[in-house]
Amino acid sequence: MRAQASPMRQQVRLRGRSYVAFVFAPVVPIVGWLEEIDATLASSPGFFVGKPVVLDLSGVDLSQSAIAHLVGSLVQRNIRVLGIEGVEADRLEANMPPLLSGGRSCVITRTEPLEKREAKPKINSLLLESPVRSGQSIIFTEGDVTVLGSVGSGAEIVAGGSIHVYGTLRGRAMAGVNGNSAARIYCQKIEAELLAIDGYYQTAEQIDASLRNRPAQAWLQGEIMRITPLN
């Protein structure tokens, strides 16, 4: 036993951590493949910013200079390559991203918004062509809701924007739920159980009886809900 222990050198503490990386698998012609990347970037700029990207070169046979050119092209598009896989180590230069192995594929959940953004501009109104029945709950926080028909007693409409009812409103209507105080509620006949705009509400008891069965609109004036007859 040694009387005096030499001071232990403190080791660098290493921790493991895993991230989900996008795997780019280029195909020939590389120019065409880069155009596809450009198209993706055009529809959703910044999609790859801050995301780890790995190049899988197993599908192509590229020379050292071609790999260097490819990595450079991606850098020009603000895509930084974290590592490369599927290629022999001697094809990579020292200043290139390191060779990786042992990656496992997994589902990238963020791919959905990419496709949606490519599709259409956002729909911000909902049209219902049949009556809303008792017990049904229509929740559409993206915008306006229009009902061609009545809203039954015990039914509920929740809208981010305004609510239009071409029929009798007997149920509950909640407009501007995302904090849109300019939202309004319109109906051909008002017999509502509850009206709410941006959190301010009135129940059937508080609604002026003289308005009943008439076309009316509800809107916010500051913190006061006004219900006035239409026309």
Binding site: S130, P131, V132, R133, S134, G135, Q136, G149, S150, G152, S153, G154, A155, T168, R170
Partner: protein, 271 residues
């Protein structure tokens, strides 16, 4: 082409079972082959109204579970040879019904009958949803009062969303049948008017059945009202409704107050 029709309402006690029996018997008297199916597992009543309670051997649950064959469970009516009853089980509950099993039974019934009338239990739970699940048409039985009308509205919403037809983008054909309509109380404004009900439900009217002692009398002797006294006011209203179901155009008659002779003589009291 067989038609599967569900008689439903949401609310209990409005006359689903009475109407199923009366319309089933009326359709059978019009020469159609008819099966009436009791979906009220655990609280069956249709067998009583049809007067077949002493002849039940197998039931819907037995057929759904494959314990009995459909032809073993079907009970032929004593009075009309083309009217059959498929009773519910009284000892089980609605959880014994399976979607798949009900689908099979209905498909089997379709091959044997012109009309299959499903008597739905009250409520919006499993029994009611499975009764309407495979229906082509629906009769929504409504009393002229607000609670019944609101429940009917709820059921119509379910017919438009939870049936096979709705899920495949088609629509269940819907009819409103107003029962227990009392012309005296309607005249006094003590009940919802026909117009109000139809405005709320936005579904075409199949018929108006007047409130009548004849209905109760027929139930008590285990006979559908359309068989017991075919000339009575409710029986005639049910016959008209059955004819409308088969596609006939028949003018709608709103039951009016019938004053007796003495009433007419002494109708108004002088001050």
């Amino acid at each position: 082409m067989a038609k599967v029709l569900v008689v439903t309402s949401g609310k209990g006690g409005v006359g689903k079972t009475t109407s199923t029996a009366a319309l089933g018997a009326a359709l059978a008297q019009l020469g159609k082959s008819v099966a009436v199916v009791d979906f009220d597992v655990g609280l069956r009543n249709l067998d009583l109204v049809m007067g077949a309670e002493r002849r039940v051997v197998f039931d819907l649950i037995n057929v759904v579970h494959g314990v009995a064959k459909l032809q073993q469970a079907l009970i032929r009516d004593r009075r009309l040879e083309n009217l059959w009853l498929l009773p519910a089980s009284q000892t089980r509950d609605k959880d014994s019904l399976t979607d798949e099993g009900v689908g099979k039974v209905i498909a089997d019934l379709r091959t044997r009958f012109d009309w299959v009338l499903c008597d739905s239990p009250a409520g919006i739970e499993r029994g009611a949803t499975l009764a309407m699940r495979y229906a082509d048409e629906a009769i929504i039985v409504t009393n002229p009062e607000v609670s019944s009308v609101r429940d009917s509205d709820r059921i119509i919403g379910m017919l438009d969303s939870k049936t096979v037809k709705a899920e495949t983008g088609e629509r269940v054909t819907k009819h409103v049948l107003i029962t227990r309509y009392d012309p005296v109380r309607a005249a006094k404004g003590e009940m919802l008017g026909i117009e109000d009900i139809l405005e709320i439900l936005a579904v075409p009217l199949l018929g108006i059945i007047p409130e009548s002692q004849d209905v109760l009398r027929a139930s008590n002797v285990g006979t559908p009202v359309t068989l017991n006294d075919a000339a009575s006011a409710p029986a005639r209203a049910y016959f008209d409704a059955a004819r409308r179901l088969t596609g006939e155009q028949i003018a709608m008659v709103v039951p009016a107050e019938r004053k007796g002779f003495m009433n007419r003589l002494l109708g108004r009291r002088a001050a």
